[in-house]
Symmetry: C2
Subunit: 263 residues, 2 copies
């Protein structure tokens, strides 16, 4: 498996849940945990609930915002209990796993980090956090009782990912949908990093740049942005451009800001 999957907990309030999440991750072979604005992950209760996954907790990385935590990720999957307006595509856990399995088997997998993002126990992910995601994931549940706790949600997602990724022969030239279509099916060609989906950090730079241009040009009134920004985000996160494509867009934006005289 070349795709690296990191689990990101945002705003977790119960320290025992961080232990349960670490345990659930490790049972399925996932070790990388990132924390944003959570309660203590090294409390006695967290360590006890991890039941031996102390290493996952001890090596967890802390970040001061979700955007920092996912800056180096090319795919960002938010988990959500509800469908939201204006969010990126909402897919079932299995469909997401299938997408990642295809990615994992392809030339595009190398150096492609994927974040699985879990929000606060009761309220889930904020709209601001959802806006940083390239996909939303829903675990299909009993519509009359969808009370999955955090540890159980992490368990199901980790299980599903481990199953899907295991099922695909690594390095096999599998035909890839959309932007992951890379090497020929005859011969596996190492995909250049520039051909892969851009990282979250470079997406943020792009959005800032675009925002500046929209405001400077009077297209966007920052006092009354309405849904404009979110619509733009939705489009570009649902169809995250490659690093190359993003450079091109940035070039266009820069060009509108500093047109060369005489052209």
């Amino acid at each position: 498996m070349n795709v690296e999957i990191v689990f990101v907990m945002v705003g977790t309030t119960h320290t025992g849940n961080l232990g349960a999440a670490a345990r659930a991750m490790k049972t399925m072979g996932f070790m990388k945990l990132r924390l944003v604005d959570t309660c203590s992950h090294l409390s006695d209760e967290a360590l006890a609930r991890s039941s031996g996954a102390n290493d996952v907790l001890k090596e967890a990385q802390k970040f001061s915002s979700l955007s920092e935590a996912i800056a180096d990720c090319r795919t960002v999957i938010g988990t959500s209990a509800r469908a939201r307006q204006l969010a990126v595509p909402l897919k079932s856990c299995r469909d997401i796993a299938d997408e990642l399995a295809e990615l994992s088997a392809s030339d595009a997998a190398q150096n492609h980090r994927v974040a699985m993002v879990f929000g606060q126990e009761r309220s889930g992910l904020s709209n601001e956090s959802l806006d940083l995601c390239t996909r939303l994931l829903r675990i299909p549940c009993n519509p009359e009782f969808s009370s999955l706790n955090l540890g159980s949600a992490v368990q199901v997602v980790a299980y599903e990912l481990s199953q899907a990724i295991e099922s695909v022969p690594q390095g096999a030239p599998v035909p890839m949908p959309g932007k992951w279509k890379g090497g020929s099916s005859e011969q596996a060609v190492e995909l250049d990093d520039d051909e892969k989906p851009a990282t979250s950090a470079s997406m943020e730079h792009f959005f800032e740049h675009l925002d500046r241009v929209m405001i400077d040009t009077g297209f966007l009134n920052p006092e009354n942005p309405r849904l404009l920004r979110r619509k733009i985000r939705r489009y570009f996160e649902s169809n995250r451009p490659s690093t190359n494509e993003l450079s091109l867009f940035r070039g266009i934006l820069s060009a509108t800001e500093n047109p060369k005289s005489g052209q």
Copy 2:
């Protein structure tokens, strides 16, 4: 979904785990819980951990033995952390789910109750309990950290079953492997109950009968049965006969006991 799935907990020692199991079941739409020799399922802790799945706990049925708990089941799936000698086939969680999805979509589904059996937290199911199963299920885990707790194991199994069963159109004439091959693919024919796998209760009567015949004939020394009984069980549970077939076998056994004179 015509197949009815019941979850059976055997020897559970932590009352909170029964609450977590009930919660996990209900999130995936399963409501039938059976208990064999477990700790209290209505303690404050169990009810708290069920987080609203009180109904599952309150309607749980208690049995004094596993064989009583599964007497009316035609398929009995034991969950196991390890492969065991001389047990029925061990399959992954997904393979079991796929089998049940095929069953669920077929004519054979009606009046076919399936038991998912979970053993004691540390020791799992005893050999005696495993001998009552028609299949064993394993949740694929990190080989270096397979510490799934009971609630998490129930969560993964319930999730996998709900996914698989949901994916198959109900009542569709799907070609069935082995004994579930029933109606023609042209027309869905209601399968007679006699054509379905025998219930666990009738299997037990059969094994008792066979045992008696084996002892009476001197084939089996009850002082030194070695693995003979378990080998027989393994064969017949892995290939559970239909009620019809079982009647035939019983008839043969009876005939050996009371041969008609002159024939």
